[in-house]
């Protein structure tokens, strides 16, 4: 489904070149929920943003389905993006649009008729359980509700892939759990491939099947979530697993 070969990306900063990604190779199978975990600054955000080219890679190739994303021109890229949904840490909803209009926007972009848009938005509102908020503005919603709108908007054009850029990092644990359940549900219902990045082991454990650990722009470990938890190979992963165990114990005590 997704095939990344030799992906590299550097940023030019005041302090010189920063290597955000170094020769990343990654395969993600269809309808998988694939997590990328790392500390902040490890390059995980750059990696996911390269998948729909919000960030332009320096070298390497990315295939999603039959599209070689890295070789598309602007017009082709816009078409491909309609089939790659994305959700964001800070939701990035349009404050001047109602919930309905936010979800309708990708459908307007794809030039559906008014009637088709209404039908599809109603389906999506039903899916994310926000029908009663149809005409609300984002400021009237809680964080979890905002992310549900974000998810509905990302799914509007029936994408094959959903990219999740720290989608639950701004949410409290309970809301995080309900959003993750929704993602899992969508994944099963529509065979949607989900790529998510996170710095929380809890997110991986709850919904991911496979995982890659990224550190300093390189993938240091990759495999099933089960293997990662039971048999971590690197210090970073052990640190993540350790902190997760402590978190679990704390939660238990509380």
């Amino acid at each position: 489904m997704i095939n990344i070969q030799g992906l590299s990306k550097t940023f030019n900063t005041a302090d010189g070149k920063v290597y955000a990604l170094r020769n990343i190779n990654l395969q993600i199978t269809e309808s998988d929920i694939f997590g990328v975990i790392g500390f902040s600054g490890a390059g995980k955000s750059t990696l996911i943003r390269c998948l729909n080219r919000l960030e332009e890679p320096d070298s390497g190739s990315i295939w999603i389905g039959n599209d070689e994303i890295t070789s598309l021109n602007k017009q082709q890229l816009r078409e491909a993006r309609k089939h790659i949904g994305m959700i964001f840490q800070h939701f990035n909803l349009f404050d001047s649009k109602t919930v309905f209009e936010n979800i309708a926007f990708p459908l307007e972009v794809a030039q559906f008729s008014k009637r088709q848009i209404r039908e599809r938005v109603e389906q999506l509102l039903d899916l994310v359980e926000l029908t009663e908020k149809t005409n609300a503005y984002p400021y009237q919603l809680s964080g979890g509700q905002k992310q549900r709108v974000g998810i509905a908007r990302a799914l509007a054009n029936n994408p094959a892939v959903l990219l999740s850029d720290e989608a639950t990092s701004a949410l409290d644990p309970k809301t995080t759990y309900s959003i993750l359940e929704l993602l899992k549900n969508i994944n099963q219902k529509f065979n949607l491939t989900i790529v998510l990045i996170t710095h929380e082991m809890d997110v991986l454990r709850r919904i991911c099947n496979h995982v890659a650990v990224i550190e300093d722009g390189s993938i240091t470990e990759m495999g099933s979530v089960h293997d990662l938890f039971t048999n971590p190979q690197t210090d970073t992963t052990r640190l993540f697993v350790q902190s997760d165990i402590e978190l679990q114990q704390n939660n238990y005590v509380i």
């Binding site: 729909n52 919000l54 890229l77 816009r78 078409e79 491909a80 993006r81 309609k82 790659i84 949904g85 994305m86 964001f88 800070h90 990035n92 909803l93 349009f94 404050d95 001047s96 649009k97 926007f105 990708p106 307007e108 972009v109 794809a110 503005y137 400021y139 908007r153 990302a154 509007a156 054009n157 990219l163």
Partner: protein, 221 residues
């Protein structure tokens, strides 16, 4: 102080002329300034149509026009007024330099408003596959609307001031009345009356602009 009877009709005509000049100049200034302001934002480095060279070129032209004192600009643009409206006198002729003189100012105000739109919202629109045109009209402008309204209000008030300057060289309106009657004929009552009317006009414009911007903000935030 009592306003003599002869002044009221003159004042009425002057108010109409000034209103006409302000409305027409604002419309044409928007017609020029809005595309320029949008272009300044979207061509800036890293934005949706990042073309740094084009950005610098537009920016330079805008700065050159903004550095002219308005009265000099009027004189320079007079030949263009003659060519476009057939005369250099009167309110319609004044609209040409008023619009051209205030368009670069308006462009900067619009640029500042549109630059405030969060990067994340633009990225969300990009990730959906929206074309630049859709991002500008359906995302950036609606998101920045309260700020745009405030900027345009400021520009209208500046244009109102400019019409008074244009009045000094034959544009008609309140500025012309103040200078020709109030100043040159020593009619202090006329001078004061025009100033009072201008103050009221500016107040009304500012109040209306604030009201609309505030209403939009309350609706969305």
């Amino acid at each position: 102080m009592i306003l003599a009877n002869d002044v009221l009709p003159l004042l009425g005509v002057a108010v109409l002329e000034t209103t006409y000049m302000v409305v027409m100049s604002t419309l044409f200034a928007l017609l020029l300034g809005l595309p320029l302001g949008i272009a300044l934002v979207v061509t800036s480095d890293g934005h949706i149509s990042g073309l740094p060279n084009i950005h610098s070129a537009i920016s330079t032209v805008v700065n050159i026009f903004r550095s002219f004192p308005f009265i000099i600009l009027i004189v320079l643009i007079l030949p263009l007024s003659r060519w476009l409206v057939g005369t250099t006198l009167g309110s319609t002729a004044a609209v040409v330099p008023l619009a051209i003189g205030s368009a670069p100012f308006l462009a900067r105000l619009i640029e500042n408003s549109l630059k405030e739109v969060e990067k994340g919202k633009i990225e969300a629109a990009l990730s959906i596959g929206a074309k630049p045109f859709m991002i500008i009209w359906k995302v950036m402008i609606p998101e920045a609307l309260p700020s745009l309204i405030r900027g345009i209000t400021l520009a209208i008030i500046t244009i109102t001031g400019f019409t008074a300057t244009a009045g000094a060289i034959g544009a008609g309106g309140l500025g012309s009345l103040a200078i020709r009657f109030g100043y040159m004929r020593y009619r202090n009552d006329v001078l004061i009356a025009t100033v009072v009317v201008l103050v009221v006009m500016v107040e009304v414009i500012q109040w209306t602009g604030n009201f609309i911007a505030h209403w939009l903000e309350r609706k969305h935030h």
